[in-house]
Symmetry: C2
Subunit: 240 residues, 2 copies
C-alpha cells in the first residue's frame, strides 16, 4: 500500500499529480478504515481538491473541498485549516461563476442589441421617411427603457450587489458559512462566535445575555438559504 505524506502542502504541479494518483488509490481502497485520523482524512480531501482544481476539473475539485470542509468542521470548526479550505473553495466557486456569467452576459448583450436595432428599424419603416433624417434608426424611448429593464432583470443574479442582511453574520458582516443561533434568536458565524466566547466573554455579542458554547444550535434553515443564494449568485463567493 502506498504511503503518502498528507501533512505537507505540496503545490507544484508535478507533486500534485502524484498526490492525486496516490489519493485516488487511497480513496478507492476505502482508506478511512485503515486507521488514518480524521485530520488526515480532511487533509487528503483538501489536497485532492486542490489538485483537481489545478487540472481544471472544477466540479470534482469543488466536491473534494466540500468534503474536506465538512470533515474539518466536524473536528474543529474554528481551526485555521477550516478557514484555509473555505478560502480555496470560495476562490474555485467564484472562478466557476465568473466563467459562466461572462458567457451569459455576452449572450444577453448580443440579443439586446439585436432587439434594439430591430425595434429601431421597424419604427423607421413605420414613419414616412424624411430626407435628412439620421440613418441611425432609434426605437420609442419608453419601449427601449422597458427593454433595458427586462434585460437587466434577466441578468440580475449575475450582477454583484449586496447580500441580504439576514444571510450575513452580525459580527463579520460576511455571508454565513456555518451559521449558529443563540437563545436570543440571533444567528452568527460559528467560528467567529466561538472566538468571541473564548476571548471576549461568555455573553451574546448583540443582546449581552449570558451565553455558553453548549447553547449554540446550528441554524440549518439559514445554512440552506445561504446555499440556495450562492447557487444563484456566485459573485457572493468573492472574499473581501
Amino acid at each position: 500500500m502506498p504511503r503518502v505524506q498528507v501533512g505537507m502542502w505540496v503545490k507544484n504541479e508535478g507533486e500534485i499529480e502524484m498526490v492525486v494518483m496516490s489519493k485516488r488509490f487511497l480513496v478507492e481502497e476505502n482508506w478511512q478504515v485503515q486507521g488514518l485520523r480524521m485530520g488526515q482524512e480532511m487533509e487528503a480531501h483538501y489536497m485532492l481538491g486542490l489538485a483537481l482544481l489545478q487540472r481544471q476539473e472544477y466540479a470534482e475539485g469543488i466536491k473534494a473541498l466540500e468534503k474536506a470542509l465538512d470533515l474539518g468542521r466536524g473536528a474543529n470548526p474554528a481551526s485555521y485549516m477550516v478557514e484555509e479550505i473555505w478560502q480555496e473553495l470560495a476562490k474555485a466557486k467564484y472562478s466557476e461563476w465568473e466563467h459562466l456569467s461572462h458567457a451569459r452576459i455576452e449572450r444577453l448583450d448580443v440579443l439586446r442589441e439585436a432587439c434594439v436595432k430591430a425595434l429601431g428599424s421597424q419604427r423607421m419603416h413605420g414613419v414616412s421617411r424624411v430626407i435628412g433624417l439620421s440613418n441611425e434608426a432609434e426605437g420609442d424611448p419608453e419601449q427601449l427603457k422597458h427593454l433595458s429593464e427586462v434585460f437587466r432583470k434577466a441578468a440580475e443574479a449575475d450582477i454583484p450587489s449586496e447580500v441580504p442582511d439576514h444571510l450575513c453574520c452580525k459580527i463579520t458582516l460576511d455571508i454565513f458559512r456555518d451559521p449558529v443561533i443563540t437563545p436570543s434568536g440571533i444567528t452568527y458565524e460559528r467560528a467567529v462566535l466561538l472566538g468571541h466566547l473564548q476571548k471576549v466573554g461568555k455573553f451574546d455579542p448583540v443582546t449581552r445575555e449570558p451565553l455558553n458554547q453548549h447553547q449554540l444550535v446550528p441554524n440549518l434553515a439559514i445554512k440552506e438559504a445561504v446555499r440556495a443564494y450562492l447557487d444563484e449568485h456566485g459573485w457572493a463567493y468573492k472574499l473581501n
Copy 2:
C-alpha cells in the same frame, strides 16, 4: 370619550365606517394608556385593518393587520385570532400582488410581441424576397428561444411556483409565519409545534429528541428571509 364594542365582529360597510372613525380617535388619543387590555388593542387594530381594506386603502389596512398580528402573537401565538388575522392579511397581500403582477405581465407581453415582430421583419428584409414566401415574418428560432428565456426570467418572480423548502415548516409544508428553532437545529411553525408539544408529546417531531416549550427560540433570520421572499413573490401568500 367614545366607547367602542371591539369584541364584536361587524362586517357590513356602514358599521365598519363607524368603527374606523372611532378607532382612529382611539389611536390618536393614545388609547393604549387608557387601560384597554392587549386583546382589545389587537382587536381594535384588526377591525381598523379590515375596514381600511374594505375602503381599498391597502397599504394602511395591511399595516393595521400586521400590528394586530404582532399583538396577538405577543398574547397567545397559537390562538384562533392569530390564525384569523393571518388569513385576512394573506388575502389582502395576495390581492395586492395579483393586481400589480397582472399589469406587469401584460406590459411584458406587449414588449415581447413587439420584439418578436421586429426581429422577424428585420430577418425578412435581410434575406432576398422570394415570391410565394409567407407574409408572416419569423425570426431565427434560436434567437426567439433565447428571447423567450429572457422574458420568462424577467417575469419569474410573478409566476407562482414552489416555495423553497428551507422557508417552509417541516410539519405543515406551508411557508413560515412565525418560525421557531429547536435544539436539534430544525425550524418549525410556532403555533403548530406548540400544538404538537401539547397534544402529541414533549419531543421534537423530526428527531424525536425530548423537547420543552421553553427551549424554542425564534428564528429571526428565517423570519426575515420569509419576509424578503414574500415581498418578491406575492403569490406565496395564497392560502391552501
